[in-house]
C-alpha cells in the first residue's frame, strides 16, 4: 500500500518503525484474508452442494413419478420416459414464465440448471427478456442464447461418436 498513488499530502520519508508497522499491517491483512478464504467459501460450498443435491434430486424424483404413472397406464418404459421428459420441459418453461423457476435457481444453483427443466428455463428466460426486440431477433433468436451452444456441441459430439463407431467396426 505504501507505493499506491493517492492524491493527498506529499509523502514524507517513513521512519524505520513506521515501515515495520506498515509491513506488519499488510501481513496481518493477508493473514486475515487467508483465514477468511479458508472458512467462508468452504461453508458456502457445502450449503450450495446440499441445495443442488436436494433440488436436483427432487426434480428427478418428480420425473420418475410421472414416468411410473405413464408405465402404469400401459406405455412402454421408453415412451414413458420420453413423455416424462416432455412434461418436465413444459413445467420448466411454465415455471420460468411465472417467475418461479428463477427463485428456485437462486437457492439451488446447479440443482436447477442441470435438469432438463433448467434447459427449458435457459430458453424461456432470455426470449422473454428480449421480447421488445421483436419476434424474430427478440424472441426466436434469443431462445438459443444458451440452448444453441448446447445443441451445437451435443450434435457435434454425437456425429463424431457415430463416425468413430462406424470406422472402428
Amino acid at each position: 500500500m505504501a507505493d499506491s498513488k493517492q492524491p493527498g499530502p506529499p509523502k514524507k520519508p517513513l521512519t524505520l518503525a513506521e515501515q515495520v508497522m506498515q509491513q506488519k499491517q499488510t501481513y496481518d491483512q493477508q493473514a486475515y484474508q487467508r483465514l477468511a478464504d479458508g472458512v467462508k467459501p468452504r461453508h458456502n460450498v457445502l450449503v450450495n452442494a446440499l441445495n443442488a443435491f436436494w433440488v436436483g434430486g427432487s426434480i428427478a424424483a418428480l420425473a420418475q413419478i410421472i414416468t411410473l404413472i405413464f408405465i402404469a397406464t400401459g406405455a412402454n418404459p421408453q415412451d414413458a420416459s420420453t413423455a416424462a421428459t416432455i412434461i418436465m420441459v413444459f413445467l420448466g418453461a411454465f415455471m420460468t414464465g411465472l417467475g418461479i423457476y428463477d427463485e428456485i435457481g437462486k437457492v439451488a444453483g446447479a440443482g436447477s440448471i442441470i435438469p432438463i427443466t433448467g434447459f427449458a428455463n435457459s430458453i424461456v428466460a432470455p426470449a422473454m427478456e428480449y421480447k421488445r426486440e421483436g419476434f424474430v431477433f427478440g424472441v426466436a433468436a434469443r431462445m438459443f442464447t444458451i440452448a444453441g451452444p448446447v445443441l451445437v456441441y451435443g450434435f457435434v459430439v454425437s456425429v463424431l461418436i457415430g463416425l468413430i463407431a462406424y470406422f472402428l467396426k
Binding site: A61, Q64, T82, A84, I86, A93, T96, M128, A147, G162
Partner: protein
Amino acid sequence: MSIIMAFIIGGLICLVGQLIMDLTPYKVTPAHILVGFVTGGAVLSALGLYGPLVKIGGAGATIPISGFGHLLAQGTLEAVRAKGLLGAFTGGITAGAAGIAAAVIFGFCMAVLFNPRG
C-alpha cells in the same frame, strides 16, 4: 424404490455440477455447465458408462442434461448399426427429437405468453 434412486442419482449429478461451479478457479456459467454435461454425458454413454447409471437411477439419470447427451449418443450408435454412415448423421437428432421439439415449442409459447417480472 425407483423414486428414491432417481432422487439420489439426480441429486448426485447436480451436486457434481455445483462443485465444478464452486471449486474451479474459472468463471463457470450455466451455459458452460449445460454444454459440459451434454458432451460429458454423450462421451460417457459412448464408452458404455452412462447406461448402467440409467438402469440404476431411471429419471435420475435421464432428466439431467447429461441424459440428453446419453440419448444422442445411443441414438447415433443404434442408427450406425442399422444404417451405417448415414446413421451417424441421423441417429442422434432423431433420438433427441422429442426433447428438442418440446423445448422449442413450449419455450416459444411461454416466452410469448409471459412477461418478465420486475
